[in-house]
Symmetry: none
Amino acid sequence: MRKKEGDKANEILNAAASVFARDGFDKAQVSAIATSAGVGTGSIYLYFGGKGEILQSLFSRFWDRLAVEMTKLETPDPLLRLNDQLGVFFEQLASDRDFARTYLRDHHRFLEFADPPSKRGYVVCVEFGRRAFLEVVAHQDRTGHAPSPASTDLSQAILFGGVRASLEFLLNNDTPAEIVKTRMLSMAMAGILAATRDPQP
Amino acid sequence: MRKKEGDKANEILNAAASVFARDGFDKAQVSAIATSAGVGTGSIYLYFGGKGEILQSLFSRFWDRLAVEMTKLETPDPLLRLNDQLGVFFEQLASDRDFARTYLRDHHRFLEFADPPSKRGYVVCVEFGRRAFLEVVAHQDRTGHAPSPASTDLSQAILFGGVRASLEFLLNNDTPAEIVKTRMLSMAMAGILAATRDPQP
Amino acid sequence: MRKKEGDKANEILNAAASVFARDGFDKAQVSAIATSAGVGTGSIYLYFGGKGEILQSLFSRFWDRLAVEMTKLETPDPLLRLNDQLGVFFEQLASDRDFARTYLRDHHRFLEFADPPSKRGYVVCVEFGRRAFLEVVAHQDRTGHAPSPASTDLSQAILFGGVRASLEFLLNNDTPAEIVKTRMLSMAMAGILAATRDPQP
Amino acid sequence: MRKKEGDKANEILNAAASVFARDGFDKAQVSAIATSAGVGTGSIYLYFGGKGEILQSLFSRFWDRLAVEMTKLETPDPLLRLNDQLGVFFEQLASDRDFARTYLRDHHRFLEFADPPSKRGYVVCVEFGRRAFLEVVAHQDRTGHAPSPASTDLSQAILFGGVRASLEFLLNNDTPAEIVKTRMLSMAMAGILAATRDPQP
DNA sequence: CATGAATGAGGTTTCATTCAT
DNA sequence: TATGAATGAAACCTCATTCAT
């Protein structure tokens, strides 16, 4: 974001989400975003440094909001908390299909090119997940030895992949979100238990 | 367009995989692919109808080859077969990191835009998976009633998402492929059991 | 447009001189001039019709002021008067380096596009010079025949070119203005004598 | 210049000279240059890196050619040689009015932004002039002491200014080139003698 | 079959100017 | 009077595709 905070910037981001969803980031035209947001093309540049910065801000906003939701989850049981976290993640995306589509296609750009400050929310969310995951491990594993970070990250990544895939399914089928979510969580929980039960390599 | 059979086309596809991996499909330049393949820019168009068709052929070739591998898997136990299928899928991608990166970034284009004939191999692979999955269900579920197709597809999609994510992890970390694969399969198997054990909605 | 008299307009012109000096007329931004002048962007248009009119006014102001100085020069000897005129011209520019830089880069626009009324001062200055020049000729040339106007204009133009070049040198070197001026006048006087001594073509 | 030497590049430069002459560098459109050169817009970029590089090449070509001409001038008498040098300089510009106009308006950009290699010809020409000037001084000044470099540069700059101004006059009037040149040289020679006769400051 | 020079449509970005406050 | 947020036209440059050789 450049100069003005506030509503207009958010409207541009919403418009961008829908245009990105339809055309993908690379093919998306700034002028289309402007039209969709009901502003002049040039106005985009009053709020964002360029097309890339729009994408960055869009994801940054998403993760920041998600981080807030994550913070509210205080389920003591780590497994249930992980369940809730994945559920919130899924729901946030499921509730905004335009953004969800953009997430599926272009989130890797955010990870690759966004500058660190804009990744704050993302890092926070990942950290929440990791902590819950480690607690599950500690709970399971009476011997007390911690799993290697790589091992945790890997398992966590696979869970994310499951959420991602369930979301993709949701977007391309008529199955109700609730059913998709349930199935996803069911498989995820089983996966977590398998991952934390296994001897760490 | 008219695909001249032979080596040159395959070399172009290999070159394309590396260029797509580095730049992504949208930013990739046809001339860069040509240079990387050691042919003139114009020659590309003797073998492919355009940039889009290169992508299509690249994925088509991948799925065709994978379909061949899938056919070889005749493990009688459906769960083990599913395990082997996911393993083969993972290994094929893990063994060609350039293509893997392209798969992660641009496979959705293949699904969205490729013409049906070029999807043959893909459809075959999916079908192999679905059949194994259904057998697992049938095996578990003594009542004999089939799960809804949607339910099967969803579970399958989530499994794919897990493979996908584990692959992404592999590309971005130093963890050995074997370890990633083992963990992925471990979680996948658990997920499958959970998915097939649950009452179908 | 309607030039509100007063200080603000002059401040804007001063600001413009510095911005033009730094960026050149074409690259100069109106908003930069406004900022430099300490007024809002829109206010510029209360005093001037547009960017072009700013340039026009800037040069117009310069020539008007110079015309006033020229009027004060009443040296009877025409050669000495010419010497003084060139000196005053040089000094006025040397004393405002921002404007001088703009003069060197963009004065041609003034000559090409300014409307006649704003060229009043310029015309007056040129006329002063021409008159002195003709007197020198008349003084030299006992036969009394006047040189052709073209011939006079040409010689005068060349003198202006010398002043211009000496000014450019001044801006790009550390040589003191006094030395530059002396050398310039020395060469100019020699040039004038040569020009007026020669048989007119 | 980028890839191909040869005719096309030169034609583009000629077209650029005419467009720059008409519109000035900043307002000149690359597409207009392309049209004027009879090539596609994109072709420009096969030969030049951009609009700026066209300007650079245009001036570079001019100075390189002039340097060749300068080399041919072997008049032993330094004053006459200087006379010839200024004459050649004038004639080269007078013979290509489009370029001359561009020279008058935009040569400062070349000096400010061109990279050193492209200034080679320019430096050579200036050096030729300086050497002749110093010889004149040495010839005049029997005491043998050299004038300060700054002093030489200044005088030389003023001479260039005279040529420049005479050229401008030529472009804006109907006076024959020969007459303008003669008058210019007459004044220049007188100026040189004045400059070299004066005690060096 | 093979080439690569040539093309030109199209997108991002800038900035002079306006006008509601 | 004064402001500065908003506008949208315009231009540089890229690159997929073609075609003469």
